[in-house]
């Protein structure tokens, strides 16, 4: 039933003896916004470059609409990239940048001009066509980089941490804009980030990557509420990882109950208390030596560092996960 546009089969890649991708399998649906989420060095950029054709995998295959494109040159694939540092051509005007792909494919001049101005309107920079990239702000360059890729009507748009260089406020705004753009264009977006909030805000599905392996692929809800592994629980939900015998559980800090809240069955010592962003975070040490963090809104004056306390959690909030450490 599902309409798969891009398929990765057992992608493996090593650089100078270091295995960067250890067999990536991923199916991406048409018009989907999927995020590859992971910390730096997890292999997400390499995966993207393999899809773009800028790297060739050691083994495995890439299928675009069922067609094997594994060893096809980057200029022969209907896939475009928004690069991390934008990679705008400094010697060309904004218009020339956006029209570059069309000009290369020998689209008639009048059509290039029409499409470019349409695109600049879409990213709300129609006044800036004659400028050089170095005369634009970071956010504007970002939009031009997107326009330059999207104007070629790619089947898949790859975005490599496109908002990484922007400040927080602008990033939030661009997240919404990107999402709007993706809905409007109906293009498949493969988005790379190390920011779990960004991933949760924008994605239809998230693929969490760790050390060359896909840990879990699912909707933001699935990833957040039903993490499969301790890595996902920690990276996406900032959850506590608690070992109980041979089992491993993920418990999010807001679900850790303190004194008087039932059921509090564990003895703990308060190690640290910090207040930030309207949130109180308390670090405890359990009697078996494991540490756990609880969070609350407001200030709880009764909790003293060094004091003994009873804490606990509801059964349904302890999510059983696979332990990545083992």
């Amino acid at each position: 039933m599902s309409d798969i546009i891009l398929q990765l089969n057992q992608i493996q890649k090593s650089f100078e003896g270091t295995e960067v991708l250890k067999g990536i399998d991923l199916e991406i649906e048409r018009a989907e916004f999927i995020t590859l989420l992971g910390s730096s060095g997890c292999g997400k950029t390499t995966t993207l470059r393999i899809i773009a054709g800028l790297e060739t995998p050691d083994s495995g295959s890439v299928l675009l609409e069922g067609q094997d494109i594994t060893s096809l040159a980057p200029n022969k694939r209907n896939v475009n990239t928004v690069f991390q540092n934008y990679a705008l051509f400094p010697h060309m005007s904004v218009e020339e940048n956006v029209g570059y792909g069309l000009k290369i494919r020998k689209v008639p001049k009048a059509e290039i001009a029409r499409k470019v101005s349409e695109m600049l309107k879409l990213v709300q920079l129609e006044e800036y066509g004659k400028r050089r990239p170095d005369q634009l702000s970071g956010g504007q360059r970002q939009r031009i980089a997107i326009a330059r890729a999207v104007v070629n009507e790619p089947k898949v748009l790859l975005l490599d941490e496109p908002l990484g260089a922007l400040d927080l406020k602008l990033r939030r705004q661009m997240q919404l804009e990107l999402k709007r753009l993706q809905k409007q264009l109906g293009i498949t977006f493969i988005y790379i980030t190390h920011d779990q909030e960004e991933a949760i805000n924008m994605s239809d599905r998230i693929a969490v990557m760790n050390q060359g392996v896909l840990e879990q692929v699912g909707t933001p809800n699935e990833i957040y509420y039903r993490p499969r592994t301790s890595y996902v629980a920690d990276f996406v939900g900032n959850a506590n990882i608690i070992h109980d015998g041979s089992d491993t559980f993920a418990i999010r800090s807001e679900n850790v109950l303190i004194n008087g809240e039932i059921p509090c069955v564990h003895d703990a010592v308060v190690l640290e208390k910090s207040f930030a962003g309207g949130q109180l975070r308390i670090l405890f040490r359990l009697s078996d030596g494991q540490t756990i963090t609880a969070s609350r809104y407001g200030i709880d004056a009764d909790i003293q560092v060094g004091g003994s306390i009873r804490i606990g959690w509801k059964q349904e909030h302890a999510i059983k996960v696979l332990d990545d450490e083992k």
């Binding site: 800028l54 990239t81 690069f83 990679a87 010697h91 570059y100 290369i104 890729a149 070629n152």
Partner: protein, 284 residues
């Protein structure tokens, strides 16, 4: 604002003094000299004349200029063809290899240019290193008699000027962001098209400074033509040197130098205009 300006001036003053003293004044002196008359025995008479310039119009000297320009064009072209790829690919090598390649370019500078040119005599002379090699490999049957020929001079020129081209292309290509070429590929350009429209365009300023550093000296490197060309190839540089020393005609030497200078400046301006390099400077 005003204060800022003043302190800038103070900082820049030594540079201006230096430039005026050692560049502007000597050039002015040279132009002045070119309009004076040669004295009977030594030095110059302060009598204004245009004769020095008229004399350059004589076929003998005009021809020298044409020959010099031809050789300069040919040498610069060859230096470009060899030096550009060398500098460009060197910039893309790993840090270790960059160092090794740079060292290879620097080593010749540890020896005097004259001595290195005499080295070429050993290579080019009849039954010299090159002849022995080619005849040993049965590529040629007889000595090529290359020494004191035009090709020998060209080789000497290219050899002497190549490092300047390589280094200036390298410094430009080194700063080039190679993801730009990847972006071009991603947008549908073949690897050649990506290189031509992006990488090459952005390293043009480096190529330009290489061309300037090769073209200007190649008009004046008379000792190369003297050593490897015998006295068959006479360049403007040789004539100027001759007029200064043997001819003891300072005004005429100055006039020749002035024409040479104007000519090279003109060539460089045309080159900049044609390639559009001035717009690209400072972008990479």
């Amino acid at each position: 604002m005003m204060k800022n300006r003043k302190s800038n001036w103070a900082l820049l003053a030594p540079m201006y003094v230096f430039t005026i003293l050692f560049v502007a004044l000597p050039i002015l002196y040279m132009f002045l000299l070119s309009f004076l008359t040669r004295a009977e025995v030594w030095g110059v008479d302060f009598t204004f004349t245009l004769d020095n310039y008229k004399r350059i119009g004589e076929p003998l000297y005009l021809n020298t200029f044409v020959e010099s320009l031809k050789l300069a064009f040919l040498s610069t072209l060859l230096v470009m063809l060899i030096g550009y790829p060398y500098g460009y690919f060197m910039a893309r090598m790993s840090a270790v290899w960059k160092k090794r390649m740079l060292l290879l370019i620097m080593i010749p500078f540890w020896t005097s240019a004259l001595i290195r040119l005499y080295g070429w005599i050993i290579v080019f002379r009849t039954n010299g290193v090159l002849d022995k090699l080619l005849m040993g490999l049965h590529i040629t049957e007889e000595p090529l008699k290359l020494l004191y020929t035009y090709p020998a001079v060209v080789v000497g020129m290219v050899y002497s000027l190549l490092p300047f081209m390589i280094l200036s292309v390298y410094s430009s290509a080194e700063k080039l962001d190679f993801t730009l070429a990847e972006a071009a590929r991603d947008l549908g350009a073949s690897s050649f098209k990506a290189f031509w429209t992006v990488s090459f365009k952005l390293t043009l300023p480096g190529l330009l400074s290489g061309v300037i550093l090769s073209f200007i000296p190649s008009m004046g490197l008379f000792f190369i033509a003297d050593i490897l060309g015998g006295n068959k190839i006479v360049l403007v540089g040789s004539v100027i040197q001759e007029q200064l020393t043997k001819g003891r005609n300072q005004p005429f030497a100055a006039a020749l130098s002035a024409v040479l200078m104007v000519l090279t400046t003109l060539m460089i301006r045309i080159y900049r205009k044609v390639t559009g390099t001035s717009e690209l400077e400072g972008l990479v």
